[in-house]
Every structure is written in C-alpha cells, then in structure tokens.
Symmetry: C2
Amino acid sequence: MHNTTNTDHDALISSIARTIKLAPDEIRIIQNLFKLKTFEKGSFFLREGEVCKQVGFIKKGIVRYYINNDGEEKTYGFNRENEFTCNYESVVPQTPSNQAIQVLEDSEIWVISNTGLQEFYSKIKEGERFGRIVIEHVFIQTLKDRNSFYTDSPQLRYEKFIWEHSDLQQRLSQYYIASFVGVKPQSLSRIRKRIALQ
Amino acid sequence: MHNTTNTDHDALISSIARTIKLAPDEIRIIQNLFKLKTFEKGSFFLREGEVCKQVGFIKKGIVRYYINNDGEEKTYGFNRENEFTCNYESVVPQTPSNQAIQVLEDSEIWVISNTGLQEFYSKIKEGERFGRIVIEHVFIQTLKDRNSFYTDSPQLRYEKFIWEHSDLQQRLSQYYIASFVGVKPQSLSRIRKRIALQ
C-alpha cells in the first residue's frame, strides 16, 4: 500500500456531485481528504479482526467481501470502479471486523480516514446528507445481499451474479465466483451447464 | 388507528436532542411533523406486502418485526418505548415490505410520514446528521439481529433475548419469545430449564 501524488479525483467528485451540490472550495476540501493508495492483487483493504478506520472509493480494481467460516471462505459480495468500499459494521462502532475486504486486482483506491470522514460531514454543507443517502443505499444493498446469502439456492445466486455483475464475470476467477455462489468450483460448472440447457 | 390531540412530545424531543442541537423553532417544527396515533394490540404498524410510508417513535407499547415463512411466523426483533420503528428496507426504496411490524400492546406511536421526514431533513439544521446517525445505529443493530437469526443456536438466542430485553420478558407472551428464539413454545420451556440448571 503506497501513497501516490495522483490528484485526478474526477470520478470521485462526480460521484458525490450526483447526490449533493458541491461548491468549488468544497471540492478542494474533498481532494485533500481523499488520498489515493495503491493495493496489490491479493492484499487487504481490511483484514478480519481489524477495526475498519477508513472508507474507500475505488478508482481502479475490484474488492470482495468474505468471512472465514471454519477455514472455508464465504464471499458475500463485490465492489468495483466508482463504488465505495468499507465495512460499516466495523467502522461505525469501531469494533473488529468479522469480514475481510480483499483486493482482487492491482487497484487504486481513494481513501478517507474515519477522522477525515467526520471532517467531511462537518465542512461540506450537504456532507451529512451525502452520508445519510449513501448509508441508506448500502444498508438496503447489504440486507438484500444477506437475505440472498442465507436463503437463495446456488443456482439463483449464480443467476443474480450474472445479472448484477455481468461485467465482472471475465475479471474474476472461478474460485471467487464459486465462493460467492456458495459451492465448490466443480459444482459451479454443473450449474452453468444446467442454465445453458434451459 | 386514531389521531389524538395529545401534544406531549417530550420523550421524542429529548431523544432527538441527545444526538443533535435543536433550536426552539425547530422543536415546534418537529412537534408539527410527528402526529400521535394509537394502535390496538394485535394491529399493524406495517403489514407484509405494504409499502412503508412512515417512521414511528414509540411513546407507549411494543412492536415486533416478523416474516411469514410458509405460514410460520419468524420474529426478528422488538422495539419498545422511546425507540424508533420502521422498515428501512421498504421505506427507503419505497418497495413492498417483506416483513410485518405488529403492535403487541395497546400502543401510542409518534408517526412522521415519509414526506414529513424529507421536511425534517431539510428544515432542521442538523436533521440530515440525525438521520445519518440513526440509520447507522439501525444498520448495525439490524446486521447483528440478522447474523444472530441465521447463525445462533436457540439457546444462545434466548440468552441474548434475556440480556437485551430482560424488561420485555414479563410483557411478552411465550409465543412471541419462542418465535424470536426460533423454537416451539414447548421447546422454550426446555431451554429455560436447561439454563436454570447451569
């Protein structure tokens, strides 16, 4: 993980400006609060057991969320370019994370510290509004993901994966897709064949 | 469900003022936005399949959250006096609720409509901040409840119930406690005896 001097915050600023109005001086505050960090493929944005102290906005790359279930990795979901990443369950109460956020490609992530986030809320006029709206969306998506994780069949999970993440299909190894679907890689091939025959 | 003219918003105002600063004119706005409604025991704050269009603050009473699983009611959690109640999963995207919120005692609930809530966010200076902080807490609590629901043993769920809701034990029927624990009422008695012997 390295800091770089790249200052091309365009996608980040556009993403925030889609939800709230930003004055020019507020754009400068945001540029100062988010630092670009590079992560090597396989490294961690957040490790299991670690307290999450930052929120990321992915400039380039993919992350996956997983829990370690008695040695078996269970993948909850993914985030990719132009999406935020963090574990609210850890960052809000500042308790150790029960899940890991792993970087699946060499990635660049705009990172804001938890302290920076509080500054964002207080210094950006509609900062609190942005925080409220983002967490609402993350909340809804997380509940959907959890419900699916616990109640959907592997085949339905695979179909949802194709539906929601079709562009990730070529970028993710079979191992991670199978871990998301909740089966062994060989069973994933069987599900694929079954769907192809339908 | 009836509107009343009671204007004793004290607990509601205190609860909000614990999180954000409120000016006198803002208190008046809040008093106008929240209407007191009475609910009879057994009635619904939100029915399954209905779009949630309001948020409540319980002045008196208890509600439970449950889903109907092929005719079997599964209880996720409870809220009581001085707590907010709503289904974010339905109120935020304005989609039909997959769970019901049932009133378990004759209750009085301060109700704000979804439109009123947007007014709260825009007219109260720190309204967005309040919304952000409340949803953060609800988010964390919901994830804890869901994790427990899917992974904890009935005995552990009963122990957590006693721990978190000891004051509700006398107010709830065995049926609802058993439904929360995830067992039939007769199995709940066995769990109770086992714990008493420990």
